[in-house]
């Protein structure tokens, strides 16, 4: 639908050119003016800034219209160019505010105000901006007043505010323009304005948006959110902390169009399970290499190098050109032949059976960071990225029904749901379950366990008889692990890795084999 022409559009165009130049030409679409928006000064959705006409006209009673527009655009653009900058920073700031305030709405409001202070102060210091002129004549709530009292103090400009001496003095000690301590800064910021937020809560005004607009998630693209969640999962490293933030902001994330539909996302219509999302995002940060199906021996021999002929060696290999025409031991040279190599018929990545132990001796992935789940998630991702399919066998006490078998699929959500399931019981697997997932094309097998399996000898016996490439990963070290390692020492199709910390996971190479050629078997 074509947008209705606004009478301020020519002025907006002129000012936008000026603002863009001032902010080093940010990659933002042309802003627009809305006649219907009246609660806030501006709104940012998918990088697009919309200014409120009613706000502009109100502010223009005290300030030329071009200055009003410029100030609003400076504010909006600086949120992109300086704070929060990206989704990860936004989440981190929210997380810190929530730690102090313990309430979602208060934390969101505190985060909004903190980001406004940082962005406005940066803009005021670094650019020629009329922001202070705009704020001087703005209608203010109590919290706005306190923040403007802070501006007055830290900008050295009279903004026509009085009072809030104590709060503004304490707030002025925070190094807003220093990015590194932002989490600590918002912690202190939230603590200082907590009283005012509680007053707003009591008076029922807490849910009203900030005058300059809410910093909601609608401004980020799905890709930015994906990346931000990945970085956030990495930085928290704890499913509990991750879950708390993601659960809090679930509605906002959904409203902003997350999760994405397609690619390696959760898939259409999938509910936002914060635990699964945590491992999903964390796994995306580790890219495990897969050895493609190895080169096969072609069976044909070709002349490779020379060696002296000796009595008893066949005459057919004699190279007359390097033998001076003589048949004489020590002088005559023969060709040494080597077997040629060629790619096998099924070059590429096989499918994979992920076998994961979720017994009581393993960490519950929903409470703490589980290296087993993360490892299995990374392995699954690696196979999916290589166009293979993944089957999952999650077991605890399999014979008592503590097991989940997921047939080959490319649904990332289903795979993660099965991997993240925690039984927490005894540890006994049923070989038949794994056997049921075997395919004629010999899928790779990825096993991750602490090896404290009651019927470990069954597993050892089964693996010993396999021709599949097996990647076995053990969590921790114990006698069972050593026993398993000893039993597998001679097997060339099995690679064993130890994971003690999450940094060990990237060292895993899937399907790595030692001098193992399928043609031999």
């Amino acid at each position: 639908m074509e947008r209705k022409e606004n009478r301020y559009d020519p002025l907006l165009k002129e000012v936008w050119a000026r603002v863009r130049k001032k902010h080093f030409f940010p990659e933002l679409p042309h802003p627009t003016i809305s006649e219907s928006m009246d609660r806030v000064a501006l709104e940012i959705k998918s990088k697009h800034i919309t200014l409120s006409q009613s706000f502009m006209e109100e502010a223009a009673r005290h300030l030329p219209m071009d200055k009003v527009i410029e100030a609003l655009l400076d504010h909006g653009v600086t949120h992109y160019t300086f704070c929060p900058w990206d989704f990860h920073t936004h989440l981190t700031l929210y997380q810190e505010a929530k730690k102090v305030l313990g309430d979602k709405q208060m934390a969101q409001k505190s985060t909004d105000y903190f980001m406004d202070v940082v962005a406005d102060t940066h803009c005021f210091k670094e650019k020629d901006t009329p922001i202070s002129d705009l704020y001087r004549h703005m209608d203010r709530g109590v919290l706005d007043e306190a923040i403007h009292a802070l501006y007055q103090r830290i900008w050295g400009e009279d903004l026509n505010v009085s009072g809030h001496e104590d709060i503004s003095r304490r707030l002025s000690r925070i190094p807003y323009l220093d990015r590194k301590p932002w989490p600590e800064s918002i912690h202190r910021f939230s603590k200082i304005i907590q009283g005012l937020l509680e007053t707003e809560e009591k008076s029922g005004t807490l849910n009203q948006p900030n005058t300059m607009g809410q910093n909601d998630f609608g401004r980020y693209s799905s890709d930015e959110m994906d990346q931000g969640l990945k970085e956030f999962a990495m930085s928290t490293g704890d499913p509990g902390e991750f879950k708390e933030v993601v659960k809090d902001l679930e509605d906002e994330l959904k409203e902003a169009g997350y999760p994405s539909h397609g690619g390696m996302g959760l898939g259409p219509g999938s509910p936002l399970d914060a635990d699964i999302l945590f491992y999903m995002k964390l796994a995306e940060s580790y890219s495990l290499p897969i050895k493609k199906t190895p080169i096969e021996k072609s069976g044909s021999l070709y002349p490779d190098s020379h060696s002296p002929w000796e009595l008893g060696k066949p005459f057919r290999d004699i190279d007359p050109w390097t033998s001076f025409g003589k048949i004489m031991p020590g002088i005559t040279q023969i060709w040494e032949r080597r077997e040629g190599e060629t790619f096998g018929e099924e070059e590429g990545t096989p499918n994979c059976i992920v076998v994961i132990d979720s017994s009581g001796s393993m960490i519950n992935p929903r409470q703490h960071l589980s290296h087993a789940v993360l490892g299995a998630a990374c392995a699954s991702d690696a196979y999916l990225r290589n166009d293979a399919t993944v089957a999952v066998y999650n077991f605890s006490h399999a014979r008592s029904g503590d097991r989940q078998v997921l047939d080959y699929t490319r649904s990332r959500m289903k795979i993660y749901q099965t991997i993240c399931h925690y039984f927490g019981g005894g540890t006994k697997l049923d070989i038949k379950d794994i056997e049921s997932l075997q395919q004629p094309s010999r899928p790779d097998i990825f096993i991750i366990t602490d090896m404290q399996i009651t019927n470990l000898e069954d597993l050892v016996g089964y693996i010993n008889g396999l021709e599949n490439r097996v990647t076995a990963v053990h969590i921790g070290d114990n006698t069972h692990v050593r026993q398993f390692r000893r039993s597998m020492e001679l097997r060339k199709n099995i690679s064993i890795y130890s994971v003690q910390k999450k940094e060990d996971i990237p060292k895993i190479v899937l399907g790595k084999i030692r001098e193992y050629f399928r043609s031999v078997s």
Binding site: K21, K22, F24, F25, V100, T121, F124, K125, E126, K127, D128, R153, I154, W155, G156, R169, R170, S172, R173, I174, P175, Y176, L177, D178, R188, K191
Partner: protein, 231 residues
């Protein structure tokens, strides 16, 4: 050929000095000095592996702290920030609760402000000896739970604790008032010789040796039991 940076030639660049720069720099400078003073005190006190609570020892540490901070120009916000720094343990690698509290007390007693409010609610660690030797004319308000020996040696000041104290609250206090809005631990008022302690919550135990002064529990005088007994 077009210069890709042509547009930036007329770039209206304007970077101004704002008061925030000065405030943050000054704060940082003062904090560095305060932290340095605290580290000196800790270095001195840590020489003996066990920090013993003896009157002479405590006074010696306090005197050292006073000497260290004498020349510093700080305010109440700096004191509060020091408490957070000590609690976080990032810049200050170790906290010895006794010397830390004594150092904070010395800062409070030497501060320009007559009324000091420290918001200690969210600190994970507990400070002892806060309000040590608080002089007359000073009011110190501690918000949050605090440790042992709070208000020890109180010297005429008014110490208000909005929370609980642990053992030996008001130990050896000579004069002044100590108000505790919640509970207090054992040996409350031990060796006190003057002043008043008011406790609104539970008192786990009053000290056996009290030389003088008064202790009130929920507004009721409990030490001395009766005027005649005291006299």
């Amino acid at each position: 050929m077009i210069n890709p940076f042509e547009d930036f030639k007329k770039y209206p660049y304007k970077k101004r000095e704002i008061p925030l720069d000065r405030i943050v720099q000054a704060k940082q400078r003062v904090m560095d000095q305060i932290v340095e003073g605290y580290m000196k005190l800790v270095e001195q006190e840590v020489k003996d592996l066990v920090w013993l609570v003896e009157n002479s020892r405590v006074f010696k540490a306090y005197s050292f702290a006073l000497r260290t901070i004498q020349e510093l120009d700080y305010d109440v916000d700096d004191i509060e920030e020091l408490c957070f720094e000590i609690d976080k343990g990032r810049r200050i690698p170790y906290l010895i609760s006794g010397p830390a509290g004594i150092y904070v007390s010395a800062l409070c007693n030497n501060a320009k402000e007559e009324r000091i409010r420290l918001r200690l609610h969210e600190l994970k660690r507990t400070f002892h000896f806060l309000g040590y030797r608080l002089p007359e004319g000073k009011t110190l308000v501690l918000e949050g739970d605090v440790g042992d020996f709070i208000g020890a040696g109180l010297s005429g000041g008014k110490l208000i604790v909005k929370g609980s104290t642990r053992n030996w609250a008001g130990a050896g206090m000579m004069n002044g008032e100590l108000f505790i809005s919640e509970h207090t631990g054992q040996n409350t008022g031990g060796w006190m010789s003057g002043g008043e302690i008011h406790v609104d919550g539970r008192i786990r135990g009053v000290a056996k040796t009290i030389l003088g002064g008064r202790i009130y529990h929920r507004g009721k005088l409990i030490v001395p039991h009766s005027t005649t007994a005291r006299e």
